[in-house]
Amino acid sequence: MNIATVPCRTPAAMPIGRILRAYLTDAKFEALRMLRAPAFAIPFLVIPAPIYLLFGVVMAGESAAKNPGVYDLLFVGFCVMAVMGPALFGVGSTLAPERDAGLIKLKRALPVPAGSYLIAKFLMAMFFAALAMCTMIIAAKSAGKISFSNLQLVLLTLTLVLGALPFCALGMFIGAHFSGGAAPGITNLVYLPMIYLGGLFIPLPAFLQKWVVVWPAFHLQQVAVAVVGISKFQFLPPQMAGAVLVGIVVLFGGLAIRRLARTG
């Protein structure tokens, strides 16, 4: 090429189409590189379905057979677990080391469209959540224990893909506040207790039942339960659970953005 044509004398205005393309390019490559990372893709895409089949179908036992709603509830609980993982780990555990590595600083110096770096991570997490839901639905349909119609499954998928956002915000908060070494550990400290204490699928002792409301997973499960209409297991009004999830996005997302804006 003729190098004399390289520099552009004045920074040209960026058409809106190109700005949107920049957002999409960031999201595409974020998803692509996470798909290429076996340590991320396998636990969050391949593992949830077998776990569901083992604990939510095979080991659910007679009590579930007598109580038809339980199979549905277990499926919803495992689906919540499946979407939580990529959101929490995909955002938090990648953000922290990239922050350590100076990548955010580079992105701030480059003319990256506002928020594109974080939006890409959120979209990636939602993409993974959608893939995980597909594997869960295939597994559940094969096992034949759920009573949902196809429309209900589509609605559930949409809800849970959107429901990944509060966990993205939590992950972002962790990634913005902890080092790359500490973030995966801290994320596990949030993720693992939340699966159990959020009351997703294991019956909790009475004294812990009161405290399920502090776990975002419980609120997402309650919204999901409302969407598929298992009213027997509706403990909170879905609007309230939804409001809590929105609050989590605002609070943790806001705190993380504030931290990132200050320290990069």
Binding site: V6, A12, M14, R33, R108, P111, V112, V214, M240, V244
Partner: protein, 706 residues
């Protein structure tokens, strides 16, 4: 302490009083003994602790607000005059009262009816049959605005009358002296709360319907002025007004905040013990007990006011961005909070968890929502301008750009990046000290300096990664903080690890997508001479290859200005040669380039101009030859048997080194050293004398600066 600093602290105290009001209302549903119908809901888990928080906060919060209001009222009055004062008050108090009520009353009424629907049949008959007072108007929490509008004219009328009567100023001098005696001496600790509180104590005592838990009866249900509120808050405003007249009195509060706090806590403890832990709606009978309580109540009120003013003055005196933001937002937050807080109180009412979790949730949720609404709907809009007399543009970066951009850069025609009088500090370390630098169009400028000289800080300012503490940073005649400006730059930073799992081609495609008119991926690969690396994963490349990829990323947007921070670190000789060639070609094509490097030969080979930094200051600037000539050193090389350590002691010799027979002498006075050398060693041979290189000049210049 400068008076301006004091205003920051008073701003903070006002914000504290307002935000405390949000917490006060949030706690109302948890107060033991609270009846349905007083507040939007009554929680299923009452809390003695929150009941006491409510009771104690209620003692002083609004009076504290009125003291500050009085202080700022006089400030405004003296600055803007009577007309300006009223125009401002109409805009900031009357209009928010009217508009706010029209919006908030329906909202709160709706929320309250939702809350009360859960208490159907449980509302006490006495409460539902209560007759509205004469002049009934449900001001809700906005009564304080109405109160201000009642108290301002009263205070100004009093002032006007005083000025009319007291033409010689004798009465005002007496007021000042009394204020000095009462508030400016240690007497303030015990005497002032009693004296200032006496009128209120008297009105409270004589009011037959006064209930201990109700505090100073609010002006929230009627537009007829209520005596206790007028007396209590009127006194508070007058005290604030006098404090602005005699601003030095504030120092007393600053010094005596602890004794005031002790008195406040003691009096509060007494009041709490009398009032009990349950909200009582039964008025006490007249008698010494009621009188004593009224005195205790006003002593607690004024002692809290003095203690909090003192704490604010002592600990919140300086300017803080966070406090400023909160202070700006507090007015909106307080205006808008009531329906929000009430709604969340209703939401948590039956949650089967401890009250502390519910209360924390109500506060967190309300404040999140209110701050978000402030940030998005108020701060950047006309509402913020209306409420706080200031509008902040939505994008902080843009705002700063407008604020820090010069109207016309001094040499805008030639400079593409400028730092003008810039100081940048990191804690106690001054990284850049009043520095002025410019990168001219089409030149390659090398920025040199030892570690910690300020090179990276200078680049960070140009890239918008940091903001100057003083001075201006300009990039392409705009602000480095604006994305649009940065579309004209390319950057290769030190110590950046690009994400794993991406191929070189993909990285370039991604970076190119940020620019309006980028080059193709294959062109970027070809200029950086890494076409063969296109399909390889970045994280599998060697250190030198990674730097080559980063160079391709820096140029792929066809930048007008290129920042290269230590570009050739880790490259082998061939790669470095290629890099230099590409850099020269870019420069020749009109790209302006800023290069920092530790390889001085790199700067010597490439730079049109060299800037040497040391300790955050420019110690030398000019072409390579000019900088070299700043140092009057020359290098003498010769074959000689003279011992190097002996030569090192000769006058004019800086350093001596020997390699076999060959001596290398760096000298400040080369002629004298040469003469002595020829005299001392007749067999000296192969003498070469040359001007010191950039490396020697650099060492000398930066050593002098140290």
């Amino acid at each position: 302490m400068a008076s301006q600093e004091r205003f920051h602290s008073l701003d903070a105290v006002r914000a504290f009083a307002l935000l405390l009001g949000v917490a006060l209302h949030a706690s109302m549903s948890f107060v033991p003994g609270m009846l349905p119908g007083i507040w939007a809901t009554v929680d299923a888990t009452p809390s003695v602790a929150l009941g006491q928080l409510f009771f104690v906060t209620h003692i002083f919060r609004m009076a504290l607000f009125f003291v500050i209001a009085g202080f700022f009222a006089r400030l405004l009055y003296t600055r803007a005059g009577a007309q300006g004062f009223w125009i401002n008050r109409i805009k900031r108090i009357a209009v928010p009262l009217i508009v706010g009520w029209c919006v908030l009353f329906p909202a709160y009424a709706w929320v309250a009816s939702w809350g009360m629907s859960q208490f159907a049949g449980k509302i006490p008959a006495a409460l539902s049959q209560l007759k509205p007072p004469p002049g009934f108007f449900p001001f809700m929490h906005l009564w304080f605005l109405y109160m201000l509008l009642l108290v301002y004219p009263t205070v100004l009328l009093l002032r006007g009358a005083l000025v009319a009567i007291d033409r010689r100023g004798a009465v005002r001098a007496l007021v000042d002296r009394s204020a000095q005696l009462l508030l400016g001496t240690p007497a303030a600790i015990v005497l002032a709360p009693i004296v200032l509180g006496a009128p209120l104590a008297l009105t409270l005592y004589t009011r037959a319907t006064w209930v201990y838990w109700g505090g100073v009866p609010a002006q929230d249900m009627t537009y007829y002025p209520q005596l206790p509120a007028m007396v209590g808050f009127g006194t508070a405003m007058i005290v604030g007004w006098i404090l602005h007249r005699r601003i030095e009195l504030l120092r007393t509060f600053e010094n005596f905040w602890l004794p005031h706090l002790v008195v406040a806590l003691t009096a509060t403890l007494y009041c709490c013990s009398v009032a009990g832990t349950t909200f009582s709606f039964v008025p006490p009978s007249m008698g010494p007990a009621k009188a004593l309580f009224a005195v205790g109540y006003v002593v607690a009120m004024w002692s809290w006011i003095f203690a909090i003013l003192g704490l604010g003055l002592k600990f919140c005196a300086g300017e803080s961005r966070v406090r400023r933001y909160v202070a700006d937002s507090s007015y909106w937050l307080y205006l808008a909070h009531l329906p929000v807080v009430a709604a969340f109180d209703i939401v948590v009412r039956t949650w089967p968890v401890h009250w502390s979790v519910k209360f924390a949730f109500v506060l967190a949720a309300s404040f999140s929502l209110l701050f978000a609404s402030y940030h998005l709907l108020v701060r950047p809009t006309f509402i913020g301008e209306w409420l706080n007399s200031r509008k902040y543009p939505r994008h902080r970066r843009g705002a700063l750009a407008a604020r820090t951009m010069p109207t016309e850069p001094a040499n805008a025609a030639t400079a593409v990046a400028q730092l003008t009088g810039v100081t940048r500090r990191y804690g106690k370390l001054t990284a850049l000290d009043d520095i002025t630098l410019d990168l001219r169009r089409g030149e390659l400028m090398a920025l040199l300096g030892p570690n910690g000289a300020g090179k990276t800080s200078a680049i960070a300012l140009w890239l918008g990664l940091a903001e100057p503490d003083c001075g201006q940073a300009t990039l392409l005649a705009g602000s480095p903080l604006a994305v649009a400006t940065r579309r004209g730059i390319g950057v290769m930073m030190q110590d950046v690890t690009l994400p794993n799992g991406m191929k070189v081609r993909e990285l370039i495609e991604q970076t190119a997508s940020y620019y309006a008119n980028p080059m193709s991926v294959s062109d970027a690969l070809s200029i950086a001479r890494i076409t063969e690396l296109a399909g390889r994963y970045y994280d599998k490349l060697s250190g030198g290859q990674k730097r080559q990829v980063q160079f391709a990323l820096a140029i792929c947007g066809r930048p007008e200005v290129l920042f290269l921070d230590e570009p050739s670190v880790g490259m082998d000789v061939a790669a470095r040669e290629h890099l230099w060639t590409a850099i020269r070609q870019l420069r020749d094509a009109g790209c302006s380039i800023l290069l920092t490097t530790h390889y001085l030969e790199e700067a010597e080979m490439l730079a049109d101009r060299v800037i040497v930094l040391a300790k955050g200051r420019v110690v030398a600037s000019g072409s390579v030859a000019e900088v070299r000539s700043l140092v009057s050193r020359r290098q003498i090389r010769c074959d000689s048997a003279l011992p190097a350590n002996e030569l090192a002691h000769w006058p004019g010799v800086v350093t001596v080194s020997r390699a076999d027979q060959r001596l290398t002498i760096l000298a400040t006075d080369a002629e004298t050293v040469l003469r002595r050398l020829l005299a001392s060693d007749h067999r000296v041979a192969n003498i070469e004398v040359q001007q010191a290189g950039l490396a020697e000049a650099f060492v000398e210049l930066t050593k002098e600066a140290a």
